[in-house]
């Protein structure tokens, strides 16, 4: 037992690091999910219900947002999935810097623990995951925990970035060209470029917040030469690209799942990679002002970024065409991972298309900071991302454990969750149109949205049941699952050519690839 523990604590194996990331991020997901349930309980009726203290609600909301984004989605996608899959997909023995990799996962755990201290501290942070000053500097709450969490997780992410960029660039199996990479590997590459470029900006911004609050500097104090808006600019300068740090890997894993379960080539691979992923990479840094449409930014800036924001629809649209096109003349089965991946198409359609009105500054002037916003971004990023992650976990489950999960339970849990999220987030957008602002602990002045809130709370219960069933499924399958074999899905991608679970070093011998090898070579005489 102690040996096993030591092995995991000091591991530098990318697969074990990946699984550690999975455990940490799913734990964060569970706690942040409980926060969501508490909030939904509070909002089940107007006026105070389960807490009469709005600050308590604000703390739940803070933790839910910060932990879901920084502690669950980014680590699950760029930590777990990237770590587990990328070296396998490119036919490498490990990542370029295994020890840095181990350091990064432990920094991640430190960040999670720091974030969890929210629940034992006397004055927990209540600054939302955005941490806007001046509020974050004048609040009673301990903003420092927010700053330190961001810094630790950011640093972990930077280490990951250095690792994966170099791994993908220099450690591909002999013969593997750039155009033979899995879409997922490409998306991780792009996501980490964004992460490396922009994380330091966020780190600087939250550090200055901390200096202002605890060391008496005046970076953001408007009475002393500071400017409240410069923080928002710095924050979104990172945090909008961060949306793509989440979006790219999750759409990447969806591509891989869809190709596998449709047993089909990616439709127009180069369009997806260079037009889709490349386009997002180019535009990611030029759209952040759309988060500041109602802050009195100069008109030319708002109008300019309205155009760049709308332009995001071009690369995303190309990816959609690639994704739907991959189904064309395919041979489609509907296993649990495929259901999750297909639902991402649906969720992204709703979420992505509702982003279009929000990109238009004059429409956003009414909808900004209303319930429409959480509705929109939960569809496009939170739920779509989470479903992609869950799909990824189901997809890789036989690879990671060598065992098969229960398909029936998986599908049941999927459908419960799917109905649940739509019950939560579609009414949420409607409540926004009715005039309800976000981050409200009480909505008694909006009697017209009460019915919608009942729906949302009911949906949240379904979501919780669905996710809980998924957890039960995994844990049960971990011990009692049927042996899955090396390649239960019949995939052509490299990760499925080795044993399940793969041994240390991944491949018995490093694969040598020919010029016309492709991870998606279906339908050809293989």
């Amino acid at each position: 037992m102690a040996g096993v523990l030591r092995e995991w604590l000091f591991t530098t194996d990318h697969k074990k690091v990946g699984i550690l990331y999975l455990i940490g991020s799913v734990a964060a997901f569970a706690v942040a999910g409980i926060m969501a349930l508490l909030m939904r309980a509070e909002l089940s009726a107007p006026g105070p219900t389960i807490t009469a203290n709005p600050s308590q609600y604000n703390v739940w909301l803070y933790f839910h947002g910060a932990a879901m984004i920084l502690g669950f989605q980014i680590p699950a996608l760029t930590g777990f999935l990237a770590n587990y899959l990328v070296p396998l997909q490119i036919g490498a023995k490990d990542v370029a810097f295994p020890r840095l990799n181990a350091l990064s996962v432990w920094l991640f755990f430190a960040g999670i623990i720091l974030a969890l201290l929210t629940f034992v501290l006397p004055d927990p942070p209540d600054v939302m995951w955005t941490g806007y000053p001046p509020y974050s500097e004048i609040t009673q709450g301990n903003t420092a925990f927010y700053s330190f969490t961001v810094l630790l997780l950011g640093f972990a992410s930077i280490l990951g970035g250095v690792n994966f960029l170099t791994t993908i660039a220099f450690m591909r199996a002999p013969g593997m060209g750039w155009n033979q990479l899995n879409i997922f590997t490409w998306s991780v590459f792009a996501a980490f470029i964004l992460q490396l470029i922009f994380v330091p900006v966020l780190g600087t911004a939250v550090t200055m917040i901390m200096f202002d609050k605890y060391l008496g500097t005046n970076f953001f104090d408007p009475t002393q030469g500071g400017d409240v808006l410069i923080y928002q600019n710095l924050f979104w300068f990172y945090s909008h690209p961060a949306v793509y740090v989440i979006f790219l890997p999750f759409i990447g894993i969806v591509f891989d799942i869809v190709a596998t379960f449709a047993r089909n080539r990616i439709f127009n691979y180069k369009m997806v990679v260079y037009g889709g992923i490349g386009g997002i990479l180019l535009l990611a840094g030029e759209v952040w002002i759309h988060h500041l449409y109602v802050t009195g930014m100069p008109d030319w800036l708002r109008v300019g970024q309205m155009v760049t924001t709308l332009m995001i629809s071009v690369p995303v649209g190309l990816m959609f065409i690639g994704l739907v096109g991959t189904l064309y003349k395919g041979s489609i089965t509907f296993n649990t991972p495929m259901l999750y991946a297909l639902s991402v198409i649906f969720l992204m359609l709703i979420g992505g298309l509702t982003g279009i009105p929000l990109a238009v500054a004059s429409i956003d002037i009414n909808l900004s900071d209303s319930y429409f916003i959480p509705g929109h971004f939960h569809y496009v990023m939170a739920v779509a991302g989470t479903f992609a992650i869950f799909g990824g976990i189901y997809y890789l489950f036989p690879k990671m454990t060598g065992r098969m999960y229960n398909e029936k339970l998986g599908k049941t849990s999927f459908w419960i969750t799917f109905v649940g999220v739509n019950l939560v987030f579609f009414p949420m957008m409607m409540a926004g149109l009715e005039g309800m602002p976000r981050r409200y602990w009480d909505y008694s002045q909006f009697p017209q949205v009460e019915g919608l809130h009942h729906l949302m709370t009911a949906g949240a219960v379904l979501v919780a049941i669905g996710f809980f069933l998924a957890l039960v499924n995994w844990i049960q399958a971990l011990f009692k699952g049927q042996p899955a074999g090396n390649n239960p899905w019949g995939s052509r991608s490299l990760e499925w050519t080795t044993a399940s679970p793969p041994q240390h070093g991944n491949f018995p011998e490093i694969p040598m690839l020919s010029k016309d090898w492709s991870p998606y070579a279906y339908g050809s005489s293989q």
Binding site: M306, T354, V360, S362
Partner: protein, 265 residues
């Protein structure tokens, strides 16, 4: 190697040219728009007072139709594929046809133009409405707003102050000049489709056109701590005569109070 390369380059050249062309056209179009309505918010210009509420509703409906059409097309195609190409035999593999270079480029370029055309169209529409939101009628009531945790303080031109209750006459545009005492708030009047943040150290403006007497909700849209959700106010649109009477009476009361304090000192 050389031949496909050349073809690619030719395609790429055409794409660039078309992009430049469509971009230029969109820009020229919007230039025309701006000159017509003047972007500067405070231009002195007599013109019909834009109705931003119906302008907003109209654009919203237009975009809603636009995105619904796109969404339904994608969804129908997806469902059709899922049904048509479901696996019928366990050993069946996909049969994606190999795209020629022309097809591959076409499948990238044509959608790009379709999406961009839609984007530019929406941007131009949005820009026009934006200009309406920004061009304030010259004849207006200017009220100063200072927000604080957790109250809206309004000061009228004659010095009268109200708290969480904004009284305005029907039929006259109202402009709020906003700032904040402590943290950031956002003054939202959902019924008038308008909001803007109020910030310490910065000045922002919104305007709206109350038409008929009635009451509307004012609510805070930027997270501001403990009682964020209780930071609500009322917008009371009054008949012009009733407003005038209230305004004069409050002004007189204020004068009286001033006289008393200076007289007493």
């Amino acid at each position: 190697m050389a031949e496909p390369m050349k073809r690619w380059l030719r395609w790429a050249g055409m794409v660039l040219m078309l992009t430049a062309l469509s971009g230029g056209m969109a820009l020229a179009q919007s230039r025309v728009e701006t000159q017509r309505v003047l972007p500067g918010e405070w231009q002195v210009e007599e013109r019909v007072i834009p109705d931003n509420v119906s302008g907003w509703d109209h654009l919203w409906e237009e975009i809603l139709i636009d995105i619904t059409v796109i969404g339904v097309i994608f969804a129908l195609v997806t469902f059709w594929f899922l049904f048509r190409y479901r696996r019928r035999d366990p050993d069946q593999e996909g049969a994606m046809p190999k795209l020629s270079v022309g097809q591959a480029v076409g499948w990238a370029v044509i959608p790009v133009f379709v999406f961009m055309a839609d984007d530019f169209y929406l941007a131009a529409q949005g820009w026009q409405l934006w200009n309406d939101y920004r061009s304030v009628p010259e004849d207006r009531l200017e009220i100063r707003l200072e927000s604080a945790m957790w109250t809206w303080d309004y000061t009228y031109p004659n010095g009268v102050k109200t708290f969480n209750e904004l009284r305005v006459p029907a039929g006259k545009p109202v402009l709020l000049r906003m700032t904040s005492r402590d943290t950031i708030h956002s003054h939202w009047i959902p019924d008038y489709r308008v909001k803007e943040d109020s910030m310490p150290g910065r000045i922002t403006y919104i305007w709206f056109m109350p038409k008929v007497p009635g009451e509307h909700v004012v609510t805070c849209a930027e997270y501001c701590g403990h009682l964020h959700s209780r930071m609500k106010g009322k917008l009371i649109v009054m008949a012009p005569e009733a407003f005038e009477a209230w305004y004069e009476a409050e002004g007189a009361k204020l004068q009286q109070a001033k006289l008393e304090t200076t007289g007493g000192a």
